[in-house]
């Protein structure tokens, strides 16, 4: 078999496998467009006979999705900002030196990265309630998410700083820059892309965060979209087309960001997680 033919065959198989793997996503989009009776048809239809576009507007209105998504955005932006401000400097120092203290710091950070949120929420909740933080539930969630996700961010960004040649910074210091100046004028601009990709990864995580928000935020008007979706899905629900419409509205921005920046996100992720 010639090379081109082999390549074509491989590509076809790959597309089929991707299609099988991504079928749940397709099913979400399709179900959202089905009518109430078509949804429960046997055999199920794999293409909606009459797409119900009005479902989206109906769900958006009746579930108050604007408010939920706004809260998700507030929480995601808040935690990304906090993590970036604190984490970038930490990653820079951990990348710049190589000694026992840095090894210990890295080890502690990796340890913190692995603590499951659903196990940490008990002491965090009790502690926050004693400090009166539960009166500012969204801020409390932002802080909790920042503590959870910052280790991951530091590990990723550290890999970026490692790739910046140290000679450049030394040259800037010889030219009369202070450490602060060299950091902000030379090192930070060179690492900008890596920081941005890591921040986007953190953003996507925080945008879908559930455990902390569910446990800490009691007031419905402050809850993010993940908690809203959870309360939409009662135990005996049969509004699956509406729920899938909700899910579609919720994930489409994330999917769009991911597909646009896919290459960068994948390479940023792999550089940090293994090395």
């Amino acid at each position: 078999m010639s090379d081109t033919n082999r390549n074509r065959l491989m590509l076809v198989i790959a597309i089929v496998m991707a299609a099988i793997y991504l079928f749940p996503l397709y099913w979400m989009f399709i179900t959202a467009l089905k009518s109430g009776s078509e949804m429960f048809a046997t055999p199920p239809s794999f293409w909606p006979s009459e797409p119900q576009w009005a479902t989206y507007a109906f769900v958006w209105e009746s579930r108050g999705m604007g408010r939920y998504l706004w809260n998700s955005l507030v929480i995601a932006f808040g935690s990304v900002t906090l993590i970036t401000v604190l984490g970038v400097g930490c990653a820079y120092v951990l990348a710049r030196y190589r000694n026992v203290w840095v090894d210990i710091g890295l080890f502690l950070i990796l340890m913190l990265q692995v603590l499951p949120a659903s196990l940490m929420i008990t002491p965090i909740f009790v502690g926050f309630s004693q400090l009166g933080m539960l009166n500012y539930p969204r801020l409390a969630v932002i802080i909790a998410i920042a503590a959870k996700s910052m280790p991951f961010f530091v590990v990723l960004v550290r890999a970026t700083f490692m790739a910046v040649p140290q000679e450049l910074e030394e040259a800037a210091l010889v030219d009369g820059n202070s450490r602060v100046g060299a950091f902000f004028n030379i090192v930070l601009p060179l690492a900008r892309n890596g920081i941005l990709v890591s921040a986007i990864l953190i953003f996507m995580q925080a945008f879908g965060e559930f455990v902390y928000s569910k446990s800490i935020i009691q007031a419905v008007e402050l809850q993010p979209a993940s908690v809203g979706l959870n309360s939409f899905m009662g135990p005996n629900t049969n509004e699956w087309n509406n729920i899938m419409a909700y899910a579609t509205i919720y994930v489409t921005p994330i999917l769009a960001i991911f597909v646009l920046l896919q290459r960068r996100i994948v390479s940023g992720l792999t550089s940090g997680a293994i090395k």
Binding site: N7, T122, F125, R179, Y250
Partner: protein, 300 residues
């Protein structure tokens, strides 16, 4: 004072300032809760003593109570099944896909990256989709299994105690496979190609090359990925909340969901803390393995 300022602007003080704030923040928000968790597991905590630190100490009573409860061992068993099932599925499918995409063809890396959407989606959304796919009477999975003749009657994935845990495992395998595949691909790409050329000259067939070159060269990557898989499956909470809520009758309950359920559904914070302490010890053990295997790789 002046020397301090100039050190911060132009000396080691700069590094110390940069590191002190994040580490202090992490200590306050992750380290202290960890210690507080251990403290609470030895105390009697209820709704009335929630606001004070000085609660009555009860020694190991929480631990004893926990292990005398009838549901404890089944839930620990479920956790073991959930972890092994998820990791085995994610790893085997992920490795298969990674080997397939290792054969370079145009579009391979883009298509491979596309798989990762399962990993970037919010866990609640993944859970909602699988909840609908796995539904008993109208679920599309039951339909496909019926059509292909694998089953004759519908399986009630979410409400049948024999299947509810596997419903969550299936969703979790789907969620994690792509991440496994991407990391395994990185490991595969770092194996030097001339090893295979040499083996081929010596007459080794594809099967022998896989067992004698690919697997041994991937050892540290595989170690890292399996321990990462353990860490991620023990963090999995959203799928349980979205698909079965641990039910019916705890048949799909696992420790990380149970700990939350004890604290926030039954308001038994002491027991929640106790379970957390036990599980965190497990997770820490996994992360030591992970750190060791990644370090091994850096040293080569």
């Amino acid at each position: 004072m002046k020397r301090l300022l100039s050190s911060i602007r132009d000396g080691n003080g700069f590094d110390i300032v940069l590191v002190a704030f994040p580490l202090g923040f992490l200590f306050l928000m992750a380290g202290l809760p960890l210690l507080y968790n251990i403290l609470m597991s030895f105390q009697e905590v209820d709704m009335f003593s929630l606001g004070t630190f000085l609660r009555p100490f009860v020694g190991f009573k929480n631990y004893q109570d926990l292990f005398s409860q009838p549901e404890t061992w089944p839930i620990l068993g479920n956790t073991a099944i959930f972890v092994t099932g998820s990791i085995a599925g994610q790893f085997l499918i992920g490795f298969g896909l990674a080997l397939f995409f290792w054969v370079n063809f145009p579009g391979a890396s883009w298509l491979r990256g596309l798989f990762l959407v399962s990993w970037v989606m919010p866990g609640l959304v993944v859970g909602a989709i699988w909840n609908w796919i796995l539904s008993g009477d109208f679920g599309v999975l039951n339909f496909m299994l019926r059509e292909t003749g694998i089953i004759s009657g519908n399986i009630f994935w979410r409400s049948d105690p024999n299947y509810s845990l596997y419903a969550v495992i299936i969703a979790n395998i789907w969620l994690g496979t792509a991440f496994n595949m991407i990391l395994l691909s990185v490991g595969l790409a770092s194996i030097p190609g001339d090893l295979y050329e040499a083996a081929e000259l010596d007459g080794a067939n594809a099967w022998q090359r896989f067992w004698t070159i690919t697997l041994p060269m991937m050892r540290s990557t595989i170690g890292a990925i399996v321990s990462l898989g353990l860490i991620f499956t023990l963090q999995q909470f959203d799928l349980f909340a979205a698909i079965t809520s641990g039910g019916p009758n705890n048949s799909s309950n696992v420790t990380q969901y149970w700990a939350w359920d004890l604290s926030f559904r039954q308001y038994d914070f002491a027991k929640g803390a106790t379970i957390s302490v036990i599980m965190i010890v497990f997770v820490m053990f996994a992360s030591v393995v992970y750190v060791r295997s990644t370090r091994h790789e850096v040293r080569g």
